[in-house]
């Protein structure tokens, strides 16, 4: 109990992080594993952490209530270089690896996942072009993002597509050197997936809408042939390839939420007194905090491994799916527990935790539902067992 008290009273997250990182440092890692960040990574993490606490967290509730797109924050993040981390160096970007991208995103998600999504989702639209674009296509479209704070979106052509990615109905017709098809909605500059059994991917830009997904247009568009990525029929491969790089970031954002829940709950439990003591001294609450901490630490290890594999060219579908489904569960449970620790106040929108509960739910759903992740993991397990037998 006394030890728990000491742990609880190292108040700042910084202190807690220091606990988990201040292990024995050896310059030569004879054991192949390495759990330490290098100096640049620590600096990146520090900038993102500062930005999250000073810029994002204070305005999160406002943007949530107003239902507005956080243009100001996204522009500020762009000046720090946070939006365009993955863009290749030859277009003026930082060409950062998945791990560093995730490291930064986890910190930003601590502030608010709605806003961190606004900052990082541009990356989703960029990823097919980064993966499959020619140097000219990359320079033309990604270069623009580095010069101005523009956004990209990854859009699907019909509202019915979800887990059943191949079941799309939109068709593209070739008309001379153009492709024409009907589309539903998009903004600023969009990468389109037009699903068909032949499966081309297009780049298309310059349509703007004023609010998020508020209205839809239904008309025909013509896209020049040179905007097709890779070639006709390559879309599914590109889309799936992108997922291996985009699932770890989703897992890390969920970890960010879980960390925020842990921090808010701990802080509150040390202030709120019942029966003469801060509620953190009641074992029931202390154990809730412990469970949250266990979840955060393990979710973090999971995304780190998935991201590391992606950066080292190792096929990471298995780890990425594990990380994403696990982190989503941790985030949801931690958010629910955080509201519980706050008690009646937790349910109230004047306190930050109810928003965390709403924000956490998406991690069970997008970027591959938990059920799809489990399909991936189970297939992998079964395949590897079959191949040995």
């Amino acid at each position: 109990m006394a030890f728990l008290k000491t742990v609880c009273t190292t108040s700042t997250t910084l202190g807690r992080r220091a606990l988990s990182v201040s292990c024995v440092r050896s310059t030569t890692h004879q054991n192949g594993y390495n759990f330490e960040l290098n100096d640049t990574q620590k600096e990146y993490q520090a900038v993102a952490r500062k930005f999250a606490r000073e810029e994002i967290a204070p305005v999160a509730a406002h943007y949530d209530k107003a239902n507005e797109f956080p243009h100001e924050i996204v522009k500020k993040a762009w000046t720090l270089g946070l939006n365009n981390l993955s863009i290749p160096k030859h277009c003026g970007g930082l060409e950062e690896k998945v791990f560093n991208f995730c490291l930064i995103l986890e910190e930003l998600s601590w502030g608010c996942t709605g806003i961190s999504n606004a900052i990082s989702s541009s990356g989703l639209g960029q990823s097919p072009v980064i993966l499959a674009g020619t140097k000219e296509q990359q320079k033309k479209y990604l270069g623009r993002l580095v010069e101005e704070p523009l956004l990209t979106a990854y859009c699907v052509t019909e509202p019915g597509t979800g887990s059943d990615v191949n079941g799309v109905k939109t068709r593209a017709k070739k008309k001379g050197s153009f492709f024409g098809f009907s589309i539903f909605l998009f903004f600023d500059f969009s990468i389109f997936r037009c699903f068909n059994f032949n499966f081309p991917i297009f780049i298309l830009f310059n349509f703007t809408i004023s609010k998020y997904f508020d209205f839809s247009y239904n008309f025909s568009i013509f896209i020049p042939k040179e905007n097709v990525l890779l070639g006709e029929g390559a879309g599914f491969k590109i889309a799936m390839g992108a997922f291996d790089k985009t699932r770890p970031p989703v897992a890390c954002a969920a970890t960010g939420i879980a960390q925020r829940c842990l921090d808010e709950a701990t802080k509150y439990s040390l202030e709120r007194k019942t029966f003469g003591v801060p509620i953190a001294h009641h074992q029931a609450i202390a154990f809730i905090l412990a469970d949250m901490a266990i979840g955060v630490e393990t979710a973090r290890l999971a995304w780190m491994k998935a991201a590391w594999e992606a950066d080292n060219g190792i096929r990471n579908s298995y780890s990425a799916s594990i990380a994403k489904s696990y982190a989503a569960d941790v985030a949801n449970k931690s958010a629910s527990d955080a509201v519980q620790v706050f008690g009646g106040a937790g349910f109230n929108s004047e306190y930050p935790v109810e928003k965390l509960m709403r924000d956490a739910k998406i991690y069970h759903i997008y970027e591959g539902t938990t059920q799809i992740q489990k399909l991936v993991v189970s297939r992998s397990v079964i395949d590897s067992t079959k191949s040995v037998a």
């Binding site: 190292t10 108040s11 700042t12 910084l14 202190g15 220091a18 201040s22 100096d39 640049t40 600096e43 990146y44 900038v47 500062k50 930005f51 000046t79 720090l80 270089g81 946070l82 981390l85 930082l94 950062e96 930064i104």
Partner: protein
């Protein structure tokens, strides 16, 4: 255009709860988060703004301390300084390093690098000395503009608004000059990620106090370091007469 020297100090982060060592010899620093002194961040920011306005040509960041001081020099480089100098002072020498030593070191470097302006934070948040800027100016026999809340640079002189007890004082100083940055001088920028990457290529020179001809032998001995006394509870009094009586009793009036 002026050449600027900025002094940056590595101190315990402002958000950390300080703990005194059980043997009362000092404060716990092992494993504790350190960062750049906040007033020094303001100093670097001012130097970078001068450079952006094309009033400064080169910014040199200096830090005196053990190997870890290089971290704050890197932060300064990431914010926009051009090169760094790390004056290596470690172990026992570092524990008794005082503004009198640092000011001599900064003065020597200022002369070697032929700088026109030295900007430092007004005080460090660990020792709160508020002496380094003043002593450095004295050693160099340069004018000093301390507690600066606004700096405007002319051709061969600067106009500085200082925050003093009575309000704001505006003075003009000829270059070369020593400035100490106060809180409201500016709002320091974030180090951007591209700049963090660029900072890795910027040079950090390493020197020792001996190379600069400065003697850092201790001038003080630390007798003991203790927590401030625990705050006593207050007393509620019935009326003003009782208050006056109590104050007289306690010798406060």
């Amino acid at each position: 255009m002026a050449r600027v020297l900025v002094g940056v100090k590595r101190v315990i982060d402002y958000a950390v709860k300080i703990r005194v060592k059980p043997d009362k010899s000092g404060v716990v620093t092992d494993g504790v988060k350190h960062s750049m002194n906040p007033f020094d961040e303001i100093a670097i920011e001012e130097a970078v703004r001068l450079k952006e306005k094309k009033l400064a040509s080169e910014i040199i960041a200096v830090s005196c301390g053990p190997t870890q001081s290089q971290e704050v020099i890197r932060t300064a480089l990431a914010m926009g300084a051009d090169k760094g100098i790390h004056v290596e002072v470690s172990g026992k020498d570092y524990e008794t390093l005082q503004p009198i030593h640092v000011s001599k070191i900064l003065a020597k470097i200022a002369q070697n690098e032929k700088v026109d302006m030295v900007i430092v934070g007004k005080q460090a948040i660990d020792d709160d000395s508020n002496q380094t800027a003043q002593m450095t100016a004295a050693v160099l026999d340069w004018p000093q503009a301390t507690f600066a809340s606004k700096v405007e640079k002319g051709d061969k002189e600067i106009t500085v608004t200082r925050e003093v007890d009575g309000g704001l004082e505006t003075i003009k100083c000829k270059l070369p000059v020593v400035i100490s940055a106060d809180l409201r001088l500016n709002e320091p920028r974030y180090a951007t990620l591209p700049n963090i990457m660029k900072a890795k290529k910027k040079p950090i020179a390493k020197v020792t106090p001996k190379d600069l001809g400065v003697d850092v032998s201790p001038r003080i001995t630390v007798v003991s370091v203790e927590d401030p006394p625990v705050r006593e509870p207050g007393v509620i009094l019935p009326d003003v007469d009782a208050l006056v009586a109590k104050l007289k009793e306690g010798g406060h009036v």
